[in-house]
Symmetry: C2
Subunit: 249 residues, 2 copies
């Protein structure tokens, strides 16, 4: 079988959020990632290179197409052609069913880079944080770059796009943590195993209207003796350090 022009243009159209939203689908590339996601997500279309043919036993996809490496390259969202491309159905999470109140939850306030959002999802999965709330201007979780960076963790997380102020307002009894240059040293603060951790935009940080809802201002101290050291850490790196501090106690 070969990949039709229609299929190629359908897959490449899913680079754009408007087409992902229209079809309620998204693309994942590479057999390792796909076999991770397929455990728990519904696959609409699986396209495999010929040398992957013997691996499709017991794979549950609505349609499976075996094709050439050059057709895979045409359909790919990346410059390095993968050994497999899959189209999955988006999973809709209803956050009213999530019991945030007893857990540590993550909020992303305008994180713009899809790679950062994907890396943060992978970190949250590692540290046993199940719910991530994203402001509507946070990068789309179904962007191919985000999907690739999650390394499969996407299948295990509840990611919900919502009005952040509303989410926080619904839990007036929970601590709301955020990192700031003038916060308290995170290594010396007492940290709860319930509440919300807010991570902000790469350049601008947490926006002012969210900042004033924060109950616990934290700071990751620098240990550099060099006075010109950069003023911040990458947002995914900061998320990792914050999650590590909350969980190790």
């Amino acid at each position: 079988m070969s990949l039709s022009k229609n299929k190629i243009s359908y897959i490449t159209s899913l680079k754009e959020k408007k087409f992902r939203n229209k079809h309620h689908t998204f693309v994942a590339e590479g057999s390792k990632l796909i076999f991770d996601l397929i455990q728990s997500m519904k696959c609409q279309l699986l396209v495999l290179s010929e040398n992957m043919k013997d691996k499709i036993v017991a794979i549950d996809a609505e349609e499976i197409i075996i094709t050439t490496q050059s057709e895979l390259k045409k359909a790919s969202h990346f410059t390095t052609p993968p050994d497999a491309i899959a189209v999955f159905y988006q999973t809709l999470h209803d956050y009213t069913t999530l019991d945030c109140a007893k857990k540590l939850n993550l909020i992303l306030d305008g994180v713009q880079d899809p790679g950062n959002v994907g890396t943060i999802i992978r970190i949250a999965d590692w540290f046993g944080i199940e719910n991530i709330f994203c402001s509507h201007d946070t990068a789309d979780v179904y962007n191919s770059k985000t999907v690739q960076a999650t390394m499969g963790a996407l299948a295990r997380m509840n990611v919900h796009y919502a009005n952040i102020k509303d989410i926080i307002a619904q839990h007036p009894d929970l601590p709301i943590y955020g990192t700031f240059l003038n916060g308290e040293n995170i290594y010396q603060e007492s940290l709860s195993n319930r509440g919300f951790i807010i991570m902000g935009n790469e350049g601008k940080g947490i926006r002012p209207e969210i900042e004033h809802m924060i109950t616990n201002r934290l700071y990751i101290p620098s240990f550099s003796t060099n006075t010109t050291t950069s003023e911040s850490l990458n947002v995914a790196v900061a998320t990792a350090i914050v999650c590590s501090e909350f969980r190790r106690r």
Copy 2:
């Protein structure tokens, strides 16, 4: 003034390591990064868009060219054209002059992704680690993607490409730390403020001949209750958590 074809092809040629090595130069893009690096690195060529003209007062570059946005786009190593492009001279670090013995040092054993290497340099800078030793198969520190990801930290770090086994062998009295799936829980181990921390390749980890030189095997525990959780963290994320643990004590 405008940017000659020769200059454009010189700048674009520096995407390749062989031309960076030939000229002992590298490219940095974007005025914020360039103004950070120019504090301590020697600039061969600075190319600015017209609306940046008034910012060149007191900038020390061998040659400054004001040009149009479209010429900058032609010379850029990235798809998003920057407001400025600079060519800097590579800084040569002589590691025999570094006093590793009294410090915490980082070793990268085959870290392949330039973005990861750049992010790790930024993390090391934040946590006051001055020396990074890279195996010869680690991504080039002067790759444009690495340079961009360092966010200027490159200017403050001693990055040295070397035979890792030799470096370790020269310090038989120092602890050598590495992370493994079967290591000791890092949150419960005593950690020295001297020695070497080794971070391995994204897929394969630390190579066997280096692994057997390690004196302290560490592990970052996962807190997920989900049995299918991914078996590893991104190498830059793991570096951040490890550095944070060493420094907070």
